[in-house]
Symmetry: C2
Subunit: 194 residues, 2 copies
DNA sequence: CGCTCATTTCTAAGCGCTCGCTTATGATGC
DNA sequence: GCATCATAAGCGAGCGCTTAGAAATGAGCG
């Protein structure tokens, strides 16, 4: 997941990683471009050949993160599975991803206020696709009678909330393993809708 | 809930409210003391007779918020109720509070990185008390056999997550009424543990 | 009620520092 | 030898916070 993407220099990747760490720790507004550079023993201006501004750096991170979680969920979503199993697997992966990438996830979930209006819109469009993955499963489960929960929208909202919030506290004294956490949350998800 | 507290000037209250709005919108690091003053048509220095620093202002807000949600939950917690009803009422109130005070809640949940180490410790101590309110209910429900969920700790974590995350997205197109949201979340909570 | 006086809370100005970002220029590698 | 990526230096603006002093406030008292 820290694989260098095609068409991107290793330095750009390192800058993004340093920015993620700092944004997650003290927020976008609380991070200066000089702090990011310092983490890499670079000069303060070294970022600008790779990202034209601090906002573009945030946008690149947000785009990467949102695409990452969407791809991860779609990769494990299998419409041939029984509805309960299908939901379990997807929630497992959602929660696991938030734990595994908790710093990136923090930026993705809490620091978007630093984006321009246009960039923000692009990001929320991807977010809607992520929600839709869960929504389709829940709607089908209700239609088939396998889920007994009343309102599909509310259940989807709650399931998303549950998973998203992982990045706020992970890791904790009691939870350090993303896979174990995923299994726990997968179980709780099924309890909630069935 | 916006009642002026004893021993506090009206100006201090107005400054806190302006700071909450700005911290919630662009983060603690993204807010300058001049921006807070501007919202009140005050000079930039007007804050300092009331709060000795920007960090003390954040601390006052965080303290107020954490005490508020703890008091709200304790006020509705009734140990004579059946475990399910008891849990429902408390979760209802927790979720409702996060929705009702979503700006304050955002600061309380996401901006604590601006606190000194010592202030942070004081805050997390209050937070543990809040978790404990839920934990006692869940543990008792499991002991009595009314709840079938396996791990009490995991269930408490998930219930907290569910409620805390409300402040991240509230209000939305589909959810604007804190009381209605509370009822929805109360139901989902019981489904999760029973 | 009107008046005084100490205290509190405001404003204008500004200190030293850091901010995001640009420029000019030198090093690096296909 | 040309594009790419780094650097040091620095621009104008804004940062948290302090100071000096003016205005507002409220208690005590004739």
């Amino acid at each position: 997941m820290t694989v260098t993407r095609t068409g991107e220099s290793a330095a750009a990747e390192r800058i993004r990683q340093a920015a993620i760490a700092s944004f997650a720790e003290v927020g976008y507004g609380g991070t200066s471009t000089r702090q990011i550079a310092k983490r890499l023993n670079m000069s303060a201006a070294a970022m600008y050949p790779h990202y034209r501004s601090k906002e573009e750096l945030l946008y690149a991170i947000a785009l990467d993160g949102h695409r990452g979680v969407l791809a991860a969920m779609r990769a494990v979503d299998d419409s041939d599975l029984p509805d309960s199993e299908r939901l379990r697997v997807v929630v497992e992966e959602f929660a696991r991803w938030q734990a595994e990438h908790h710093e990136l996830a923090k930026v993705v979930q809490y620091e978007l206020h630093g984006l321009t209006r246009e960039h923000y819109r692009t990001i929320t469009a991807i977010r809607r696709e992520t929600t839709e993955v869960l929504a389709e499963i829940v709607r089908r489960g209700i239609a088939s009678g396998e889920f007994t929960v009343g309102a599909a929208d509310d259940a989807v909202l709650a399931l998303s909330s549950l998973c998203v919030d992982v990045c706020r506290w992970f890791p904790s004294r009691t939870h350090r393993d993303p896979v174990v956490l995923g299994r726990t949350y997968g179980d709780l998800a099924i309890r909630m809708v069935r």
